[in-house]
């Protein structure tokens, strides 16, 4: 993860990454790819000028060519949501908060996740770690109640044709190309 924060009360537009940050918004740049983010000159400029600050930057992960790749929005966003929530929650507490409270809190979260997963994956081992839970969530989502449904149609809907003489798609393509070339 590489989390940054917009330190200002204004919207910040990082054109060469194609993102915009609301006032005081955090964002994980690893969602765009580490290489792309590290090569962004605009980002570097904003960081230098103190408009954006680095909150947390993990070491770059070694990429593997594993043929079994679990690529799920649910996986990443569950992890991100949990991390963001716990960071925000504990940042508001005093620095004396003990590790025991943190462990207890994450234990409650884990219990909740397992409870939700147990319907689709009844044999799930309760000893799984947090990282594994998000993987199982993906599997559970795929296995989720495939009821035996069959339809009497292949196509549905009512069609309508409209003359199309505009070149809006071409205009949009040009804008995107200009942005890429910057």
């Amino acid at each position: 993860m590489w989390r940054i924060r917009n330190k200002t009360a204004n919207i910040v537009l990082i054109d060469d990454l194609g993102i915009s940050l609301k006032a005081y918004q955090d964002f994980d740049l690893d969602l765009l790819g580490r290489d792309k983010s590290e090569n962004s000159s605009q980002l570097a400029s904003f960081l230098n000028r103190g408009i954006i600050e680095n909150i947390h930057k993990e070491k770059r992960e070694v990429e593997t060519n594993s043929s079994i790749e679990i690529n799920s929005l649910i996986t990443n966003s569950v992890r991100d949501a949990m991390t963001a929530f716990t960071q925000e929650f504990f940042s508001k507490m005093s620095e004396d908060v003990s590790q025991g409270i943190i462990n207890g809190f994450t234990g409650v979260l884990k219990e909740k996740f397992l409870e939700n997963l147990s319907i689709e994956l009844p044999n799930l081992n309760n000893d799984v770690g947090f990282d594994e839970i998000s993987v199982y969530e993906t599997q559970a989502a795929i296995l989720k109640g495939k009821e035996d449904l069959s339809s009497n149609f292949e196509q549905i809907g009512q069609k309508q044709e409209i003359d199309s003489s505009d070149d809006i798609a071409e205009q949009l393509r040009k804008i995107k190309k200009e942005r890429k070339n910057k």
Partner: protein
Amino acid sequence: MNKKMIGLDVGTSFLIASTKKNNKEVYNIQRDCYFIIPEGNKRAIKIAESSGGNFIYNKDRGEYYLIGQDAINFANLLSTFLDKDEVDRNAEIQLKRPMSQGVLNPKDKLGAQMLEILLEGVIEGVVDDVLATGEGVVFFSVPADPVDGDYNTIFHSSRIEQKLEALGYEPHSLNEGLAVIYSEAPSVIVDGEEIPFSGLGMSFGGGMINVCFAYRGMSLLEYSTSRAGDWIDEQVAKVTNTPISVITKYKEDNLDLATEDLTSNEMLNALHIFYDNLIKYVLHHLKRELSGMDERISYEVPIVVAGGTSRPKGFVELFKTRAEKEDLPFTIKEIIIPKEPSYAVSKGCLVAALAEGEEEEEEEIVNKPSIDEEDSS
């Protein structure tokens, strides 16, 4: 390879797939609802079958599901024989929606499966040939997270993405408010320069209202509200003691927000009140979301108003009146109404898909070896 480019509006009320053929935009529209007929109710099944309707059969539960307009017609027919309280008490004789407030409910397994079948059917309707895997690109609409609800849209968008991949398409999500901007390509003037694909896009849907503030085709701000067209129907149904399906049909067929004669019809009166309330609500949140800015926006901002809930006559005039009173931190340049407000989100997704397709073709041409290079090898 010539890929098929498809735009897909995944809405609470309608699914709308679109593509371009021979310089025409082709839209395929399907209502996003179903009605359950238990297998034991042979008479109801016979009536529904003889109407030529589309069905889905659930072998596990022994149920037939009438879908789309047939479902609404059947629900309305039942409501003429039963009173509203009886309909409200029995969930099994109510119209069902796979989505609620703009998103799939993670706990509704059947709803998610129903939506997948409907999505497949509505996309098949715009694709003439059977496509092999990888021959189609679909840009589908997703809502932004709501400012007035505590749910997020992650499960919804990932489930649709998985389904489209399973069908062999290359899926890309696009924020619904930004899709509206792509559909109409509004522009702003900054320091004498015209900046295209800039302004405010507002999609007034059934389950949600999506808003996007864009600049040069990029989203600067996006959010949604969970109060939308369905909320109006629910409130009017409560105060007039009328089934929701009847309200929906009346709203779509008869509503004129510009009329001054409100006393003659209780339903019309109620619709006026709640439409006005909804518009004020949306503008209030818009002002709030923009309140974090230090300065007023210096250029005039166009607003695209789209979506099925914006279709009634008089809606735009009412919206303009309320917007001018709200003291927003910008001057309104113009209010743009798409030629087909209900199709704007699908069209915007199609524009994004076509722009992507043209970019890919250009890269292929650039990367293709020249004749000299081929000869020398």
